[in-house]
Subunit: 346 residues, 3 copies
C-alpha cells in the first residue's frame, strides 16, 4: 500500500535526495506528518518547519533546501507535485461495483460496460453514461442527459433533463444541475412563469461542489467551460457563461446572463449581478459586490471588514451622514477661501 | 410539434401580421432565433435587433413595430405573451408514468388516481397527494404532509412532516421544506434544543428553487402566500410569513419571525434580520443588509460595489478613520468660525 | 396525550401556582396559546401580554409575576424550562420502524439492534450505526463512516466515507458531510486537484441544518466540537476546527483552515476568511465580513444597513470619493493653521 521514495520521485520527474528505498505510505503536513509519510514545502516562508518535521521525506524546490532534511524529492513545483501524488493516497470512497440491482434504468438509456451505478440510481429515458463513470447512490439523471467518460458523481446528485456533462467531471452530493432559471413575466395579479427551455452544457475536467446549483438557460444554454472548478453552495443562474479554467469559491452567486472569462478566480461569498461581462484573469476578493462589468484583468474588491461592534456603530453613524459632512466641508472650504482673501488683502 | 403563426396569435389574443400559416416550432432570442422560431421584443431599447434577426416571427407591441419584420404577432404585452407561449415549447422533463414499482407508499397515504410517482419516491403515513401531481424520483414526503393538485416536485426534494403545499406548486430538486428552525435556549453548559412544533403552510401557485430551505415554525407556522416565487438556495427561517406574489431571488436569507408583505421583490444575496416587518411593494436591491423594518413601500439598498483592490484598500482605510475625521472636522469648523469673528472684528 | 400542570412542573423542578390537575396538551405563544396549552414569559418586556393571554398556564420567573395569571409554573429560567418541555409535545416525524426492506446495507456494515432505517437508506462497507439511531429515507452513508448512539438523521442526507459523528446528533435533510474540500494546485493549463485525504470528525450533541455542507480535511481533519449547533446552508470548508458549544446561524461561510473557539455565536450571512483564529466567546453580528483573526472575546460587526435606494446612492458616491475628501481636508487644515498664525501675528 506504499511507495518507495524513488517511485514517488519518478512519478513527478523529481530527483531523490537520501534513501531511494524509503517506504512511504501516506501524506501529511510538515507539522503533523509521521515518519512513513511524505510532506511538502510549498512556500519558503514555512522553511523553518523543516527543522522540526517528523515527515519521512519532503517535496522541496532545490538541492539547497533538500540539505535541511534527510530525505527529499527535488522538483520545480513541490505543491503541484504534491497535488499529483495525492491521488495515490486517496482512500476508496465507496464499495459498490457494477450496476446495483436496485437501480432504475430506462430501456432507452445507454450505460457503458464498466460503469458503476450505486444503489437506487435512477436513469431516465435516453440518458447516456460513458465508460469509466461512477454514479453514487440515489443520483437521479433525467431524460436525455449525458455524462462524459471517467466522471464521478457522488450520491444524491440531481441532474435535470437535456444536461451535458463532459469527461472527467467530479460532481459532489446535493448538487442540482439544470433546474429552472428564475424567470417570470409580471402580470396584473402576480407572475407568469417563463418555461426554461435552454440547457446546461458543462465542459471536460469540471468539478462542481456540494449543494451547488447550476440552472438551465431560459432560451439559450448555461455554459461552463473546460477545467472550471466550482466550490460548494455556489449558485449559477440561467444563461451564465463561464470561461475555461475559472475557479469559484463557496457560496458565490452569479446572476442571470452574466459572462465570466477564463482563468478568473472568484473568492467565496461574492455576489455578481446579472447581465455583466467579466473578462479573463479577473480576481475578485471575498464577499465582494459586483454590479458593473469588469473589463480589465486585475483584482477587484468591496466590503469593509469587521471591527468591534461599538466602534463599528460609530463608524456607520458617520457614514450615514457622509453626504451632509461633504456638503458642510464644501461650505467650509468656501469660507476659508474668503478668509484667505480677506486676510491677504488686509 | 409546431404551431402556425395564427394558432399562436390566438392563444395570446394577438393580431397576426404576415403569413398566418407560417409554421413555428420553437422559441428564441432575437439574436439567435432561427427561421422556424418565434421571438419577442420586450423593450424598445432592443428594437434595432429587429433588423438583423433571423426569427420566423416576432411578438411586438404595435403595428408600427410590426412593420419592421415580415411576420409578427401584435399584443399589448409581448413579454407576458412570450411567457404564456413558452409553456407550449417546454420539453418533457421525465419519462415515468403512474406509480413506479420502487416507490414506498404508506398504507395510510392517499394518492390521487392520475398522480405520477417516479422511482424510489417515499410517502410516509397520512400523506396526501392530490390529482395531477408529478413527484420526482427520490423525493421523501413525511408523515401527514399534503401536496395540492397539479403540483410538480422535482427529484430528491425532502418534505418533512405536517407540511401543507397548495395547488400548482413547483418545487425544485434539493429543496428541504419543514426542517427544524434554529431554536435553542442557552444553558450553563451549552444549548437546549427547542422542539420545533409549528408547521409550514404554502399557498397555491408557489415556486421553490433548488436547494432552498424553508423551516417549520417553532410554535406558530411558517407561512408562504399564494403566488410567491422563491429562487435557489434561499433560506426562510422559522415563523417567517411571506405575503402573496412576492418574489425572492437566489441566496437571500430571511431570519426568524420576519413578516414580508405582498408584491415585494427581493434581489439575490440579501440578508434580512429576524423579527422585522417589511410592508407590501418593497423592493430590495442585491446583497442588501436589512436590520430594520421597512414600513413604507419603495426601493431600499445597501452595500458598496467593487473597485480595483488597491483603490478599495485606500477607501476602506479612510472609512475606518471617518469618526476621527468627523471629530477633526468639527474642530476645524470651530477654528474657522473663531477666525471669521476675529477677522471681521479687526 | 397531555400532562397535568403538576406533572410538567415536576419535570422542570418548578413550583405550581393554581390548579395542579389542569390538563395541558400543547404549547403556544402568549399571543396565540389556547386554554389547553402552556405558554412562557421569557423576558419582562412581554409581561403586558400576560393580561391578554388565553394560555391555560404560563412558565414564569417569580411568584410576583405568577400572580398575574391563574395558573403558572414558577422556575428560575422559564425559557430553558419551556425548551425542555417542548420535547414532550413534539409530534412524530416519521412512521417507519426497524430496517425497511428497501435498504441496501453492506455485509460489512454494523447496525445496532434498535436502529430505524427508513426506505432506501444505503449503508456502504464498514459503516457503523450505533444504538437508538433513526436514519431517514434516502440517506447515503459511505464507506467506513460511523454515527453515534441516539442520533437522528433526516431523509436525503449524504455522508461521505470516513466521517465520524458523535452521539445525539441531529442532521437535517440535504446536509452533505465529508465532500472534498476546494483544493487545487495551479498549473500552466489549469488546476491539478489535490485529493482530500482528511476526514470529518463531529462531536456529541451536534445539530447540522438543512443543506449545510461540511467538507473533509485536505490532510488533517475538519473537526466540529461537542454541542455545536449549525443552522441551514452553512458552509464549513476543509480543515476548519470549531470549538465546543459554538452556534452558527444560516448561510454563514467559514473558509478553509480557520479555527473557531468555544461558545462563539455567529449570526447568519457572515463570511469568515480562511486561516484565521477566532477565540472563545466571540459574537459576530449578521452579514459581517471577517478577514482578520479575532483574538479577544467580544462582539464584532461590519456592514452598513439599508437606506432608501436614492439616499444610499448619494452615500455611496461620497464614500467612493472619501480618499479625495480626506486629502482635501488635510490641505484645508494646513490653510486654516497658516491663517491662524497670520491672524494671530497681525
Amino acid at each position: 500500500m506504499g511507495y518507495t521514495l524513488a517511485q514517488l520521485a519518478e512519478k513527478v520527474q523529481g530527483k531523490v535526495k537520501g534513501d531511494p528505498n524509503l517506504q512511504l505510505s501516506g501524506l501529511g503536513t510538515l507539522e503533523k506528518a509521521a515518519s512513513h509519510e511524505l510532506s511538502f514545502l510549498a512556500s519558503p516562508k514555512y522553511q523553518s518547519q523543516l527543522y522540526d518535521t517528523s515527515a519521512g521525506a519532503v517535496l522541496v524546490k532545490s538541492d539547497e533546501i533538500a540539505e535541511l532534511v534527510n530525505n527529499a524529492i527535488i522538483v520545480a513545483n513541490p505543491y503541484l507535485a504534491f497535488a499529483k501524488l495525492s491521488h495515490l493516497f486517496a482512500p476508496a470512497t465507496q464499495g459498490w461495483s457494477g450496476i446495483d440491482s436496485t437501480c432504475v434504468v430506462s430501456k432507452t438509456a445507454t450505460v457503458a460496460e464498466d460503469v458503476v451505478l450505486g444503489p437506487n440510481v435512477v436513469l431516465d429515458d435516453d440518458v447516456v453514461i460513458e465508460r469509466g463513470c461512477v454514479i453514487g447512490a440515489g443520483c437521479v439523471i433525467s431524460r436525455g442527459s449525458k455524462v462524459g467518460a471517467s466522471s464521478t458523481i457522488y450520491p444524491n446528485v440531481t441532474i435535470y433533463h437535456d444536461v451535458t456533462i463532459g469527461a472527467n467531471a467530479i460532481i459532489h452530493s446535493g448538487a442540482v444541475i439544470g433546474a429552472d432559471g428564475f424567470g417570470f413575466a409580471p402580470k396584473k395579479d402576480g407572475w407568469e412563469k417563463i418555461s426554461q427551455i435552454g440547457r446546461v452544457i458543462i465542459g471536460d475536467d469540471v468539478e462542481v461542489g456540494a449543494s451547488t446549483t447550476i440552472d438551465r438557460g431560459a432560451l439559450d444554454d448555461t455554459t461552463i467551460g473546460n477545467g472550471v472548478k466550482i466550490d460548494n453552495q455556489v449558485q449559477i443562474a440561467h444563461n451564465v457563461v463561464i470561461g475555461d479554467n475559472s475557479a469559484i469559491a463557496g457560496c458565490t452567486v452569479v446572476a442571470g446572463s452574466t459572462k465570466i472569462g477564463s482563468f478568473c478566480t472568484i473568492s467565496g461569498g461574492v455576489c455578481i449581478a446579472g447581465h455583466l461581462t467579466v473578462v479573463d484573469k479577473v480576481h475578485i476578493t471575498g464577499m465582494s459586490m459586483i454590479t458593473h462589468s469588469l473589463l480589465e484583468a486585475g483584482s477587484y474588491s468591496s466590503g469593509i471588514a469587521m471591527e468591534p461592534t461599538s466602534k463599528w456603530r460609530r463608524t456607520v453613524a458617520r457614514i450615514r451622514r457622509i453626504d451632509d459632512m461633504a456638503k458642510q466641508f464644501a461650505q467650509l472650504k468656501q469660507q476659508v477661501n474668503k478668509l484667505l482673501e480677506k486676510v491677504d488683502n488686509k
